[in-house]
Amino acid sequence: MNQSFMIIITVFFPVIYGAVMLLAPCFKTRSSLIKATAAGLAVTAVFAVLSIFGGGSFELLKLGENLKLYFRIDNLGKMFAAVVSIVWLLAGYFSFEYMKHEKEEKRYFGFYVMVYGILMALCFAGNLVTFYVFYELMTLTTFPLVLHSRTREAVMAGLKYLFYSLCGAYMVLFGIYFLNRYAATLDFTAGGSLDMGLAAGNEGILLTVAFLMILGFGVKAGMFPMHAWLPTAHPVAPAPASAVLSGLIVKMGVLGIVRAIYYVIGTDFIHGTWVQTAWLVLSLITVFMGSMLAYREKVMKKRLAYSTVSQASYILFGLALLEPQAMTGSLLHVVFHAMIKSCLFLSAGAIIYKTGKTNVDDLTGIGKEMPVTIWCYTFASLALIGIPPASGFISKWYLATGSLESGIPYFSWIGPVILLISALLTAGYLLPITIKGFLPGKEYDYGSLKKAEPVKTMLIPLTVLAGLSVILGVFPNPLTGYIADIIGTLF
């Protein structure tokens, strides 16, 4: 019991803690606020670790019959929870320094702590309803992070984010309504729990439902055609926020799809149907389009956001193949991309923080000013492009092989091609910064050069993340092994 109870603490402690932080009139000085936040995050992390190792399940309360809030920790959940915790803590640590030049930190940190709890809840959610509940809450609580700066642009972006997400959420809700009828149970059961007896004769509507759910969760994962909010919303947020948005919140969309398709509807049901085809098409379009746009984008954070769009769809593509290899690839990419993208955003943040430069073209010689940052950036980019032995390579390899093995006509070979192209594009939009940064060319006057290396608070997260994104690539086996037995239950 106490183990299961730990889940509840993990979920609700940060939420309540954050709420208190928001409402409490204390925190005169900044340091006290920082301390409070740090404490909150740390404690939550401890709880998280405990519950990850504890496992177990817990039913909180019934909102209505089969509307129960139910938590269960399975391997998938553990993996996501681990990733989330790592990135969240690092980004948080980064923001202690970064947020100095933003106003109203109290609100920021308050919500930051809250969202941590909610993400935990999403990872540990035991059934679709619970997942939906916290999915909505995530939207609402991350919303203040997005429009933190409260400029008109930020507010507009925030609204866009809100309404796109709600739109997606309601598609999902539509799905849930039907699954509640046609699924034996809404609890996540590996391989799906669709009641074929009931489903017989209603395949049409159920396939629609499946597609809507993919689309709905796809909103968060920035899948075409519902991707438009992402490049607007991520950049306006403060850098750490955009790091976690791109690194983690997007992944929650992915998690949602995995849960819905692999754990409720079941892969067999949509295998080879128009839904799978549509899904593949959409994800491939997104992959290509995302990197194209990123390539043409000049503002750094926007460029990174676009790259998120395309990278997230790598994962979706892998899932859409409904095939173990590819699935492995996707889950690996979830982990790697989380590390990499947050690393990239954080370094971008560091650059903005120190130099205030946002446009890519201004960054000539930046490598001289802040070498460590740019080195981290470079490693991360290499990983994202997929240069062996860096991590990205592994995941993409699995994806490619998976797609070739899947034997789905056309897509089995179109997929890898597009992945390659987009990899090239990735190189095209990430590396120039490094190159220009270190080799500014001869007309760059070194006189004006001044060291602008940020303080440790910022460097540590950067280096850790960059390190991880490489090391995980070098020693992928524990991770792949872990993922293998997740997948073992699915296929």
């Binding site: 909102l63 019959e65 509640n180």
Partner: protein
Amino acid sequence: MSQYWILAAILLPIIGGILTPVLPFKKRKQMMFYLETVMLVTSAIVLALVAHGTMEVFHVVRFVRNLSISFKIDGMTMIFGGLVAVLWPLAMLYSFEYMEHESHEKVFFAFYSITYGVTLGIAFASDMLSMYFFYELLTLVTMPLILHTLTREAILATRKYLYYSIGGAAFALIGLIFLIVYGTTCEFEPGGVLDMTKIAGKENTLLLIYMLAFFGFGVKAAIWPLSSWLPQAGVAPTPVTALLHAVAVVKAGVFAIIRLTYYSFGTDFLRGTWVQGVVMAFAMFTIVYGCSRAVKETHIKRRLAYSTVSNLSYVIFGATIMTPLGMVGAVCHLVCHAMMKICSFLCAGAIMHQSDRHYVYELNGMGRKMPVVFGCFTVSALGLMGVPGLAGFISKWNLAKAAVESRNVQAYIGIICLLISALLTAIYMMSIVIRAFFPGKDFDYGPLEGIKDPTWKMCLPLCLFAAGIICLGLFSSPLVRFFGDVAAGLY
């Protein structure tokens, strides 16, 4: 014996109201005390009756032959009566504060409490005629409340209200006659009272008549195209708009429709006929229509009124599914919406009363100045959006569940309407919240000086309602089970 308590419950507020202008009150306080006592005593009686359980019919006045004014207590009575009994005293408390600066408030309060009695009459009515009687009476006693300000537009609004309602009642009367002639009895009985042997061969006429009666009652339930009186009636003082045009009057219309459909004509007779298609289609259209008008509207109260229009049609939609589950959904939303809408209306009223701002674009930054009011408003807004954990989610869940269970394609489309309207709801409610809390980067709070939360008389009801919304959202299952029993005809 306790039968006479029903009479007491109905007559007490009526007599109390009539006495209000007559009694010589020294101070305003005395009148407040007097009225509040009347309200509370009445509510106490009603709740006691409801708790006491079902009760046989008893006749008060005989009109013609078997037609009489008679009362009984059954499931629907419990629900509606209980709801009204809970809401009324709070709204009364609120209106004391609100009406302080309005003129000739004695008359106002007189009719306000008379209306209470009449509404209870509708709730307790045991047959169509009695309900029709109180229904007409309701129109008349609420007329002075809308007329209250005596401005030109108030007069126009009143006229429109009268014409619409009385005209509607005329058509309802036709339905009543048919029930008298073709029914085995005039009493309300679960499953309907039509005498199948009599109507053999006349089915189509009866369906037509049902449609007429439906739209007749639909006037008060503000179904398109008969809805335009409701936003116009917003000229009335806010307590009126809140209580009558969010709860008493409009809900009486919906209540009547449920009575008509489930207790008089009987769903077995109506289900699957063309008339079901028609009425459901109208309900669905109204759902979307109301929301979209609300989005365009900038006057706060009118916006809320339009949102009422659409939410009422949620209930009607539930009713027109014509299955027990549908009725559960309908009743559930009837209750939840009452809570949420009265809360949001009272908030709007508080805003107007404190700051005398009536338009949405005037609300920038008010959230800082009136945290309690806007907090409650946010809760109700989220509830209306159907955010999980709040009342709205539960009722929508039940509605959608019923729709899915009914295996009726039109109902499926209805679900989509629900979700679309949920999105629109998000737009028109959240836009207010966001304005209030995130007025924009360089917004000066200068003009807002002196605006603050109202006194406890206003805040207490608000907070109670907000709390109610949350409780309904979290612990609704016993209530829903009760509704289920009611729908199953156990009460």
